[in-house]
């Protein structure tokens, strides 16, 4: 269905007419949160395709997909809490916890059941985060940092004898298998992305998430239960973080408490690169996908050029600054002029 446009003539000159014009539409596109990451991904992809003959090889692209999957899932999870004006620093701990939990149960039951337990546990932890932040109104940074600490500790205790390696071979199957030419793990990640996108763009909850992040007081006064929306956001974040932990665990074939911190940092980088604001209620799944893919491609490019992989932190850090400048500066210049 096409978007209906009310053709009532605008009485207000200026802003409204400006938006209707071609230039206005172009500006809206350029100012969209996901624009920078999209442009950068295209430019980078085109560059690598030309400069590195190995980039477009099927097996290399499969590699990019595998490497980006965990990042994609975790990033869309973080997106939800950032959109409601919160933050979740416990996702690192959740990844460690989920991986250890899944590996722990994998030999006692089916792998799918073990994965489900790990995800459900992280959702429950997300609910605790949500209750503490949304109902008790504790500071989200402090609460989630503390919860993350606890989870990391639990994961470490459970792996006191070293990482847990399930004997069941299908444990790694998720990460290694292919469906046609596409890695299964990447399909799983894309499924998560689609679910997140549908929730944010079609579900009532999605509307409320944006409303709470845009102006919490106004949303509350408009009759929205802001506490419930926040709890839901943290539960969803927990679900995706738990699933990301399962995927990461499947990739290395074991439950390892040292997983988490690196994944968390990269996911925050992907989210900010994708144009998601911190406490502004701005951002969407598309931007996050571009952000995550950009980081994946950067990592791959660094591999192809055989540089030290640690370079990706420096590159992504610089890119985030550039991305923010892209979003903020045009508005400031515009403001100066008027």
């Amino acid at each position: 269905m096409t978007v209906d446009v009310d053709v009532r003539p605008a009485v207000q000159p200026g802003a409204e007419q400006d938006r209707r014009s071609e230039r206005g539409r172009l500006r809206a596109l350029v100012e969209a949160p996901e624009f920078f990451a999209f442009v950068f991904l295209v430019v980078l992809g085109a560059f690598l395709a030309v400069a590195q003959s190995g980039f477009l090889l099927e097996f290399n692209l499969q590699n990019v997909g595998r490497q980006t999957s965990v990042l994609l899932v975790l990033s869309v999870g973080i997106l939800f809490v950032l959109l409601v004006g919160g933050i979740d620093l416990s996702v690192g701990g959740m990844i460690a916890f989920a991986s250890v939990l899944a590996a722990h149960f994998a030999d006692q039951m089916s792998v799918v059941a073990a994965f489900a337990i790990a995800v459900a546990a992280c959702m429950a932890i997300g609910a605790i985060n949500g209750l503490l932040v949304g109902v008790a109104e504790f500071s989200p940074i402090v609460v989630t940092l503390a919860v993350g600490q606890v989870l990391t500790g639990v994961a470490l205790l459970m792996t006191a004898n070293g990482p847990i390696q399930p004997t069941n071979e299908s444990y790694s199957g998720l990460a290694t298998s292919l469906v046609g030419p596409i890695p299964t793990i990447f399909i799983a990640a894309i499924a998560c992305v689609v679910v997140a996108h549908v929730i944010l763009s079609r579900a009532r909850l999605g509307r409320y998430v944006y409303a709470v992040g845009g102006n919490e007081t106004a949303a509350w006064l408009a009759g929205i239960s802001t506490a419930r929306v926040k709890i839901a956001a943290y539960v969803i974040c927990g679900m995706f973080a738990g699933f990301a932990g399962v995927l990461a665990s499947s990739r290395i074939g074991s439950g390892d408490a040292s997983l988490g911190p690196a994944e968390m940092l990269m996911a925050f980088a992907a989210v900010f690169l994708g144009g998601v604001g911190f406490g502004t209620g701005r951002g969407n799944v598309i931007g996050v996908v571009f952000g995550a893919l950009t980081l994946g491609v950067i990592g791959n490019g660094i591999d192809l050029y055989q540089l030290d992989s640690d370079w990706q932190y420096i590159v992504s850090g610089c890119l985030i600054i550039v991305a923010i400048a892209f979003q903020v500066l045009p508005g400031r210049l515009h403001w100066r002029r008027s």
Binding site: D6, Q17, R19, R204, L221, G223
Partner: protein
């Protein structure tokens, strides 16, 4: 004698709306002057011009006979003009002394620069207000009154030519007020001029000798503070306003009144909030009625409005709709019970930036257009279009961001959001603040239409003309209590104003029980 501060022919407009028109004002050293006027009369603008927070469009400011150009608050401070604001901007974790010298901390090198004229040192400033022994106490541990004194000391630190007090007693107890007045007396005898802005007219004879009265951006008179309060209120309201009750207004009232069945719709019993803003209020809103709640900022009228909409906690009392108790613990429970709320302060409490016009109007009523938690786009769009149409929101497209619309159209969109939940009672706060006259008229029509359907509107407004125009009945609050009820044929700006100051003779008994 040279005036401490004089303002000559100052004019100031905001977006073409005049806030000050050719204002002349002068205050002598050691003089204490009261400044009164209704909301929007221009008091705050005048204070801001004198204290350098605003620059006048035309006219001149003189300090000690010297023409000055005050570009920012610091320029005024350097000339010994200090302000004690209603809420004083102190830093809670700093000590009293640190707050006093904030931004002007003494350092060895700059000590000469900082010791301007004869401005007292931090310690002197604090001992002047009797706070010398508390210099090291952090502000968060001080009482409101003590904080007020710290704020005064801070103003004194910058000089003592003119001190402006903006509603300084709003949060103080009588004993604390007495102490504040003693400090003001001491300041005056030391030669400081005092400009005292207040709604509490009974304080003026104690503080000031002369009172300057403002109305609609002009100084309309100067009277000795011994003037009768009723006379002062009359001067603030203006005689011509009383005569200005125009025909259209009466028409509208008659129309809404004819559809009024006098069936009680919303009943509040013994309403008392938990922050002592209002106490033991009983009220009834009838079906088809527009009821106004009126009062000064400290009257509790706004707080009562919020409580009825679920946006403020009640300590006791209950609210009935159609005889059934309504849960008003939160706005969402109130909405479910049939009470919908349009909050004041559009930017802070109404608009959700980044959201489209369509998403704005259907936000509160998404349950009407969704199934199993998912919004059904077609129905959502249809509802949005219908609401936009009904409320006459003028937007080139309903997919525009709400912030791209004019203030009046944003307000109409928010009103549409309020209507979308199909409420029985619409509660609003300052429904037309910052809306142009055309938009105002349209909003009045909308409120009238809602009432014609048998719903009721309850609103609070600081714009008394709006109250006189729009409402079928008005309840006047004074310091947390209901002091007057004005029926349709008794409504006028002058009477509302008198009521706000608890100066309606026949009703005075109501307030002093």
């Amino acid at each position: 004698m040279t005036a401490a501060v004089a303002v000559n022919g100052v004019t100031k407009a905001f977006n073409g709306v005049a806030a000050l028109i050719d204002v002349d004002f002068a205050i002598q050293p050691g003089e204490a002057r009261g400044l009164v006027g209704e909301n929007g009369a221009g008091k705050s603008t005048l204070i801001n011009v004198i204290s350098g927070a605003l620059q006048p469009d035309a006219g001149a400011i003189e300090v000690d006979g010297q023409s000055v150009n005050l570009r920012q608050p610091n320029d005024a401070m350097l000339r010994g003009i200090g302000t004690v604001h209603q809420q004083n901007w102190l830093i809670p974790g700093f000590t009293a002394a640190q707050n006093v010298e904030l931004g002007h901390e003494r350092t060895r090198t700059f000590v000469k620069v900082l010791r301007r004229g004869n401005s007292p040192s931090t310690q002197e400033a604090l001992s002047f207000v009797g706070m010398a022994d508390r210099a090291g106490a952090t502000v968060e541990g001080l009482s409101l009154a003590d904080r007020q004194l710290v704020a005064i000391a801070r103003a004194l630190f910058h000089g003592t030519r003119l001190l402006i007090f903006d509603e300084p007693t709003a949060a103080l107890t009588p004993i604390e007020i007495g102490y504040l007045f003693d400090v003001i007396d001491r300041l005056r005898s030391a030669g400081t001029a005092i400009l005292y802005v207040t709604h509490r007219l009974e304080e003026l004879p104690r503080v000031a000798e002369q009172i300057t009265v403002m109305r609609a951006g002009r100084v309309v008179g100067q009277r000795p503070s011994s003037i009768a309060e009723r006379e002062l209120v009359g001067l603030m309201a203006g005689e011509e306003v009383v005569a200005q009750e125009d025909v259209a207004v009466t028409d509208r009232r008659r129309r809404t009144a004819s559809s009024r069945a006098l069936k009680p719709l919303l009943v509040g019993q013994d309403l008392t909030d938990d922050e002592d803003a209002f106490r033991s209020i009983d009220l009834t809103v009838h079906a088809g009625e527009v009821l106004a709640l009126v009062g000064l900022p400290d009257s509790g009228a706004v707080e009562l409005t919020q409580a009825l909409a679920g946006a403020r906690r009640l300590e006791r009392g209950r609210i009935l709709l159609d005889g059934q108790p309504v849960n008003t613990r939160t706005p969402q429970s109130a909405v479910r019970g049939g009470i919908s709320y349009l909050a004041g302060d559009r930017k802070l409490k109404g608009v959700i930036p980044n959201s489209t016009v369509a998403a704005t109007v259907t936000l509160s009523a998404l349950h009407r257009v969704s199934r199993a938690g998912f919004v059904r786009r077609r129905r959502d769009d249809a509802l949005a279009r219908q609401l936009i149409e009904e409320c006459g929101v003028k937007a080139a497209s309903m997919t525009l961001p709400i912030t791209a619309l004019s203030g009046g159209n944003q307000q109409k969109a928010l009103f549409a959001r309020t209507l979308a939940t199909q409420p029985r009672v619409i509660v609003c706060e300052d429904p037309t603040a910052g809306v142009d006259p055309g938009g105002r008229e349209a909003l009045y029509e909308l409120l009238g239409e809602a009432c014609a359907k048998g719903d009721a509107v309850l609103f609070s407004s600081s714009d008394l003309r709006e109250v006189a125009t729009l409402s079928d009945r008005a309840l006047v609050l004074w310091r947390g209590r209901l002091v007057a009820e004005l029926a349709r044929d008794e409504l006028s700006v002058a009477r509302l104003m008198s009521g706000q100051f608890n100066q309606l003779p026949e009703l005075k008994a109501m307030g002093s029980d």
